[in-house]
């Protein structure tokens, strides 16, 4: 059977979501790629397309979607992306309705990266989808916003950017925001840690594959969170893999190859 690529448009009065299907007609399994908040449907370094093409060879279909915040898709209701769970749930429900209609006999597996991971896991659990793949998964706070950004590290990188020094020279740096990012969120994060751990709404039905990058600065914290939830029995099965010499986005050809092999093995 020859693999086909075809565009997918989900359009109603609220959204217009664009995606690309790759695979054979009536596939047994459809992997659905959901981007991170600032990601697009091809993924970092075209990773989603490469994984999809590889899985095609194993007769696994795939759909790569992009969401309105950073992609071509349109949200006519202007859902606030800062409320991540609401933002993802709104768009995922549109995607899910489409999938149930178009691929009623196929097994649906969501895959996402970074901040998109927790929303797809919770959505899968609610919609009785039993397998989920998470790439460099973060976690969300109870107030539904991002908490575990390593701001100090991000500011360190910014030190090397011309624009930072330009802003400093023209007194355009927002010192209040920097202080609150570095101190306020960090302390709040510690205070809420136990609450956050309990906040993952799953009840042990999902088979989960979590893949982390060895050099991801958030590795320790995120790994601890997901392992803790596994011990608490929140997943049916938990597989974890760390890609050596790799960062949060698996930069580098070898990291991508390793990721691809791991996903392919897990699915088979």
């Amino acid at each position: 059977m020859e693999a086909l690529s075809k565009p997918i448009v989900i359009e109603d009065e609220e959204v217009c979501l664009y995606g690309i299907f790759r695979g054979v007609k009536d596939p047994k399994t459809v992997i659905v790629f959901i981007p991170a908040l600032t990601g697009t449907r091809i993924g970092p370094q075209r990773m989603f397309v490469e994984i999809a093409n590889h899985l095609n060879k194993e007769n696994i279909g795939s759909i790569c979607f992009d969401f309105p915040y950073a992609g071509d898709s349109i949200d006519k209701t202007h859902t606030n992306p800062l409320y991540l769970r609401d933002y993802y749930n709104f768009h995922l429900s549109k995607v899910c309705d489409f999938l149930l209609q178009e691929y009623p006999r196929s097994e649906i597996i969501f895959i996402s990266i970074s901040i998109g991971c927790m929303p797809i896991l919770e959505f899968s659990e609610k919609n009785k989808l039993n397998k989920v793949i998470l790439l460099s998964p973060n976690h969300l706070s109870k107030n539904k916003t991002i908490v575990n950004k390593h701001n100090i590290y991000a500011y360190f990188i910014k030190l090397f950017q011309f624009n930072t020094w330009r802003k400093l020279f023209f007194l355009k740096l927002n010192f209040g925001r920097i202080v609150s990012n570095v101190f306020y969120i960090k302390s709040k994060e510690k205070k809420n840690r136990n609450e956050e751990n309990n906040h993952l709404i799953t009840c042990g039905k999902v088979d989960l594959l979590c893949i982390f990058g060895e050099n991801d600065p958030e590795l320790m914290e995120n790994q601890k969170f997901w392992k803790h939830n596994n011990i608490q029995g929140r997943f049916n099965n938990y597989d974890e893999y760390i890609v050596p010499n790799s960062d949060h986005s698996y930069m580098g050809w070898n990291s991508k190859e390793e990721l691809l092999t791991k996903i392919s093995n897990w699915l088979n």
Binding site: K6, T40, R41, P44, A70, G71, A154, F156, F162, W253
Partner: protein, 265 residues
């Protein structure tokens, strides 16, 4: 406005095309040329917003991915500059047959600006080019890419990453997940826009204050204008975060300036 996503076969290769068609067309078509590497991801929203804004003005806008990039067919390591050139005439034919445009404008961003300019040379019917942050000197761009890669690996404490890859018995250099063949690297090394032989074109450059290559852009304008074969205009745009910030930034100033320029001309 009508948007259509489609895959078409050009020169036996599968290309992804996203077209924006206005309800009332002015019969002009604008073709977007993407930047390469992770720069493509960073301009996705800007491209999309600019394409829709141009479409509202009556232009048909065509966005496509080069073979081996984006949603188009081919493996990432199969991207080849020579393929971009060889398949461009097929793309132009497809656009002419589908949209019957009276005029075609090329719109390129970063490395896409260079590819747009080079491709326009072989198409005398293309008279206008809009280039956003073009890379004037390929050698310097390659140096910057290599430095950025080194800095990235050092900051992330990533060791033993292989500089050279062997894929299907061919050597490649890895640019943070994008393998580049030695032929492509040689092309980049030699690429210099100032040496290009563009005849009878009107080139408009949009230069933001986020990349410090202002002198090179001015030099390019002078060199082209000495030949008196084409005209070059430079528009400076205050959009400091266009290239400096890591993730999604507000590029509406740049889009607005492009729209104002196009509606006034």
């Amino acid at each position: 406005m009508r948007e259509k996503l489609e895959f078409i076969g050009l020169n036996k290769r599968n290309y992804f095309i996203h077209s924006h068609s206005p309800l009332q067309t002015n019969r002009e078509t604008i073709i977007f040329f993407n930047p390469m590497f992770d720069e493509k991801k960073r301009v996705q929203k800007f491209q999309c917003e600019t394409a829709r804004a141009l479409c509202r003005l009556g232009y048909t806008v065509i966005r496509f991915d080069y073979y081996g990039t984006g949603d188009s067919g081919g493996d990432t390591f199969e991207f080849d500059f020579s393929t971009v050139y060889s398949d461009f005439s097929y793309l132009i034919d497809h656009i002419k047959n589908t949209f019957s445009p009276e005029g075609i404008i090329l719109f390129g961003i970063r490395l896409g600006a260079d590819l747009a300019l080079m491709n326009s040379i072989s198409e005398p019917t293309i008279k206008h080019l809009i280039l956003v942050e073009p890379i004037i000197d390929g050698k310097r761009y390659l140096l910057e890419l290599r430095m950025r890669k080194k800095l990235f690996y050092n900051l992330n404490k990533i060791q033993s990453n292989k500089e050279q890859l062997l894929i299907q018995e061919q050597k490649f250099e890895d640019f943070q997940g994008y393998p580049m063949s030695f032929e492509n690297l040689a092309y980049l090394e030699k690429m210099n826009l100032s040496d290009s032989n563009i005849i009878d074109k009107s080139v408009t450059i949009f230069k933001t204050n986020s990349i410090s290559n202002k002198k090179l852009v001015v030099k390019f304008k002078e060199k082209i204008e000495i030949k008196k074969s084409s005209s070059v205009n430079i528009h400076y745009v205050d959009c400091p975060e266009f290239w400096a910030a890591l993730e999604s930034v507000d590029t509406s100033t740049l889009t607005q300036q492009i729209i104002t320029f196009i509606s006034n001309n």
